[in-house]
């Protein structure tokens, strides 16, 4: 379980969101929706401990986040970022194996590569294993990052706009995968610009505007036309 108490976050001392109180129950799938610049990514990064909070506290399994080592965090939560910069042409299999080894310094290369292969197979991307990451398209690179997070085998998975760059087919496969993972009691938090995706796979959605939570509850109840018009400030 992840809990935010009066959490406020931002950049260079300037608040982007908060104060926010949120709880992500174990085994739940939560979708984060909101317009560009509403604070979704900053909130996710603050929850992950990648950015220090301006105020408030994040708890992972009832422990303050700052009390957990980086290795402990890597064993609890895996992250798929919204943007990924590729410079050096590392082999895909080795990049996915970084997830297998996260927080487990003693994992052998053979074990890590086996977990990497399994994650690639789960996403039906085994054929890319020996390619260099620089040879792949944006969508394929996104799938490799998702495979890396799967190889991390954490109880919590955080995905920031995971369908970015993915074709329609891969979007559907990813949504199916989220449903499968949820069935194994994993907690999944993802941000999205697709309300239909949230309705299809999320138990709950959190709507954000201007750094504040506008609504929080079951997707069926909260993602109505009026609520979406209000969220994205559409005037018809």
């Amino acid at each position: 379980m992840i809990r935010c108490d009066q959490l406020c976050g931002g950049y260079r001392g300037k608040a982007v969101f908060g104060p926010i109180d949120l709880t992500f129950e174990a085994g739940s799938v939560v979708a984060l929706l909101g317009g560009n610049g509403s604070g979704k990514t900053t909130l996710l990064k603050t929850i992950l401990g990648l950015r220090p909070p301006l105020s408030g506290v994040v708890y992972w399994q009832n422990k303050p986040l700052h009390a957990l080592s980086l290795a402990e965090r890597a064993r609890l939560v895996a992250f798929v970022p919204q943007q990924h910069k590729v410079t050096f042409g590392l082999r895909v299999r080795d990049i996915v194996a970084m997830g297998s080894k996260a927080g487990l310094i003693k994992a052998t290369s053979a074990e890590a590569l086996a977990r990497a292969d399994a994650a690639l197979a789960q996403l039906k991307q085994s054929h890319l294993a020996e390619k260099r990451i620089t040879e792949l398209s944006g969508g394929q690179q996104q799938l490799i990052l998702i495979a890396r997070a799967l190889a991390q085998q954490t109880p919590v998975l955080v995905l920031d706009e995971p369908v970015n760059h993915l074709d329609w087919g891969h979007q559907q496969r990813l949504l199916d995968l989220i449903v499968q993972l949820a069935a194994t009691e994993r907690t999944i938090i993802f941000s999205t610009h697709h309300p239909d995706h949230a309705k299809r796979v999320a138990h709950r959605c959190v709507l954000m505007r201007a750094g504040q939570v506008l609504a929080d509850g079951a997707c069926v109840q909260k993602l109505t036309s009026d609520a979406l018009n209000d969220l994205y400030q559409l005037d018809f």
């Binding site: 260079r12 990648l50 980086l70 992250f79 970022p81 050096f88 991390q152």
Partner: protein, 332 residues
């Protein structure tokens, strides 16, 4: 298996080139004579041949091996750390600082030890200042701030070096400073190699141990952190090890440019981008490159050309060739 084979070929090439480096020179010797003198060991029967091999050429070649290896692994580690294939070991101002320290030493004293000590200290000071400045600015866009801070310290020590040159005695000290800055392996002694070899060896082992983390850090700071890597601590450790390596090379032989930039590219062409292979292999490729350039510098003309000039003259066309080739296929 292919990669093990490449390592084997690199080892063999280095051994052959080192042998040529010892055998070839103004004083010609046959392979049999060379083996015979080497078998005698450092305390063999005194002779001209023994002195040339053991007191002149061998320290020269061993120095080239160590310095080439140190500069190359420093460049490879920095290119991984800064996630940028255009980075070389001097990005944080280490060579400018060490160059200033050496020039100051040459002006203040005639003792070579003073020159080397000041060179080493100011190499560390320059990088320390860059890191301190970047830390004071904050950790937002950490790598960019670090590069900018390095540019500031490099500019500062370059200006200070110019000031020292301007005020130095033009008949005695200034030529010494200029010659020293060109880079030369000619003054390396066994005593210097005895302490610098373990330092270079240990720092290189330290860097090789960070290779896997460097791979992960090449994914970006936030991703590396979410994969359990303590980014700031690892970065400081790599900067420290690299600074020690670069400073030691300046201490031993002055400014030798381009090795740290080009060799990692050549190594990635051979073995791909995985730092677990690139870092140890760049030690070998760097050693091969500098031994070969040293061989040329000593035998190209009747007077030994400062090696720093040749590493630039040979390095530039190699880098231009790499640009032409990699420009089409992408960086590795």
């Amino acid at each position: 298996m292919i990669k093990f084979g490449i390592f084997g070929i690199l080892f063999a090439s280095l051994a052959v080139l080192a042998g040529l480096g010892i055998a070839i020179g103004p004083f010609a010797m046959s392979p049999g004579q060379l083996v015979g003198v080497l078998m005698q060991g450092p305390f063999g029967a005194p002779s001209l041949l023994h002195t040339i091999v053991w007191e002149v050429r061998l320290p020269h070649v061993v120095g080239a091996v160590l310095i080439g290896a140190a500069l190359a692994i420093s460049g490879a580690a920095y290119q991984g750390l800064f996630i940028n294939p255009l980075v070389s070991p001097e990005i944080l101002g280490v060579l400018a600082g060490a160059g200033f320290g050496a020039a100051l030493g040459l002006v203040l004293s005639d003792h070579f030890v003073t020159v080397q000590l000041l060179s080493f200290i100011f190499g560390l000071v320059a990088v320390g200042l860059a890191v301190l400045l970047a830390w004071r600015v904050g950790d937002e866009d950490g790598l960019i701030v670090l590069v900018l801070a390095g540019m500031i310290t490099a500019a500062l020590f370059t200006a200070l070096l110019s000031f020292i040159k301007y005020t130095a005695d033009p008949y005695d000290k200034l030529p010494a400073i200029i010659y020293w800055l060109m880079g030369s392996l000619g003054q390396i002694t066994w005593a210097q190699l005895a302490w610098s070899a373990p330092v270079i060896g240990l720092a290189s082992i330290g860097l090789v141990q960070q290779a896997e983390r460097l791979n992960i850090m090449s994914q970006g700071d936030e991703e590396a952190q979410s994969l359990g890597v303590p980014v700031v601590q690892t970065r400081i450790l790599i900067i420290l090890l690299t600074t020690v390596l670069a400073s030691v090379t300046v201490m031993l032989a002055g400014m030798i440019a381009w090795v740290g930039l080009i060799v990692p590219h050549l190594t990635r062409l051979l073995l791909g981008a995985d730092n677990r292979l690139v870092l140890p292999a760049s030690l070998l490729v760097g050693a091969i490159y500098l031994v070969a350039v040293d061989l040329l510098s000593r035998n190209f003309t009747s007077v030994e050309i400062p090696i720093g000039i040749l590493t630039a003259l040979i390095g530039l066309p190699i880098f231009a060739g790499l640009l032409l080739r990699l420009g089409a296929s992408g960086w590795r």
